[in-house]
Symmetry: C2
Subunit: 284 residues, 2 copies
């Protein structure tokens, strides 16, 4: 296997470590992709566990790094943070910019099977295979100690990636995740266009469906704001909670009174999430 090349776009010191932004040619997406990495100071001495953060609709690889205040706790709990962009961009697909819930900034962490999206929109493979291999190759990462978390569309992505690959991700958590996309308006519209008309083919990307047959060893942590404007129609955490209860999947669902869907919500509870992951990743 030849080394894949990364291009460093920018780098800043942060909490004794470094925040770096990279671009590279992705084989999964057959296109340029971007991601950011926070390397905590302890990684100078020995490889550290890795936490992948999957962002929500319209986000890039920058939002979480600049808004969540996560580096403070990544440094404290000695974990690396990796944040991929939410889709390929400027692929030349005519409709990619038409809808903020689809195409650019809205890859939904699936491998598209429908034209024209199936040429480039392979975010599931990118996130679960190509990116971890790249991180293992280029950074002081413990590939046997990986966790994943995300927000909204990225919360859906994190739950799906973890449930389908419990050997690859030891810990999972989410902020305001889309937990049942096959039942939500966003999910139905998006899955039809990326995956086709047959809903049975969507189930592999629906956390509520997956959890019934894919037990996850460690408890799942979810925070959800009660004044989140997407809560009732798109997010439906109670549906996931019910499925977890039915199969005995440990879940901590925290309904946070008065919190909305913004990064102010994420910043408030990010410490708890990083601690949740670090505890599992270090004790495993």
């Amino acid at each position: 296997m030849t080394a894949q090349s990364l291009t460093l776009v920018s780098q800043s010191a942060c909490f004794g470590g470094t925040v770096s932004f990279y671009r590279h040619v992705s084989s999964a997406c057959n296109h340029e992709m971007k991601f950011s990495v926070y390397i905590p100071p302890q990684a100078k001495l020995a490889p550290v566990p890795v936490l992948y953060f999957l962002s929500g609709l319209t986000c890039t690889e920058e939002n979480f790094m600049v808004k969540a205040g996560a580096q403070r706790f990544a440094a404290q709990y000695k974990v690396m943070l990796v944040v991929p962009d939410t889709s390929p961009r400027n692929t030349g697909i005519a409709e990619e910019e038409d809808d903020w819930t689809f195409g650019t900034g809205a890859g939904f962490y699936v491998d598209a099977t429908q034209a024209p999206w199936n040429d480039h929109y392979k975010m599931y493979r990118y996130v679960t295979e190509e990116l971890p291999a790249l991180i293992a190759e280029h950074f002081p990462a413990r590939s046997d100690r990986q966790g994943i978390l995300g927000h909204s569309m990225g919360g859906h992505g994190a739950l799906v990636c973890a449930l389908r690959n419990p050997d690859r991700y030891l810990s999972v958590s989410a902020f305001a995740p889309i937990v049942a996309p096959t039942r939500s308006p966003w999910g139905q519209q998006i899955f039809t266009r990326y995956l086709g008309n047959d809903p049975s083919l969507w189930r592999n990307y629906d956390a509520t469906e997956l959890v019934r047959t894919h037990p996850f060893k460690h408890p799942i942590l979810i925070d959800q704001g009660t004044t989140d404007s997407f809560l009732e129609q798109q997010l439906m955490p109670e549906v996931f909670q019910q499925a977890c209860a039915q199969v005995g999947q440990p879940l901590t669902l925290r309904m946070q009174t008065g919190y909305d869907h913004s990064y102010y919500f994420i910043a408030t509870f990010i410490e708890d999430h990083i601690r949740h992951h670090a505890k599992i990743l270090r004790e495993f």
Copy 2:
């Protein structure tokens, strides 16, 4: 005095308190102005000290609130945060958008005396008089416990506001401030256009000049990254350090190895700054 009206633009829960964005008609600037406020949870019980943060070039009232991670410590140390925009916007002045270091996003916290800027660019009066009065009127703020800090252009602003009004601001600190604008290319260009050609009229807006004749009771805290690309030509902290030493002004200047001019730098050290202010504001 009639109550000035504020329009709430948006509000989010954050660390048990609220981040709110407001717009209002400013009498100082004779134009609409915007600011953001973080109210910590303790303010529900009793008024709290207030910390004003003045932002750098190109910033709005949002950057600090969303990027610095300051609310965590404002809640912990029980202080309110107030962040004004960096200039009036859309005033109709033809050249206001031409230069990122002047006009829109670059009010430099001075009261302009030169046309056409003197119609609206009265940021010094806005920040030191109108905004504190507005905060006192509308929020649970202790107006007798105010501190001020800022970044870059806003670090200059914070030092100038505090040195000229030590009765109004009990504590001051800065990240990568422009400490000697009358000697820096940015300051010289900007002051000529806002204040006119006579450099003697610029001294009231130059922290290094002011500190020689305006002692500040409590120590001044400054953090400066060593790889900041503006360090040598525009910032020159050693010039301020020398002036402080000459007059016996207590100053803690921390040169932070490897840090740049970004919010990753600010986020890393914001806890120290809020603690610095809270200690003075609570013990005074």
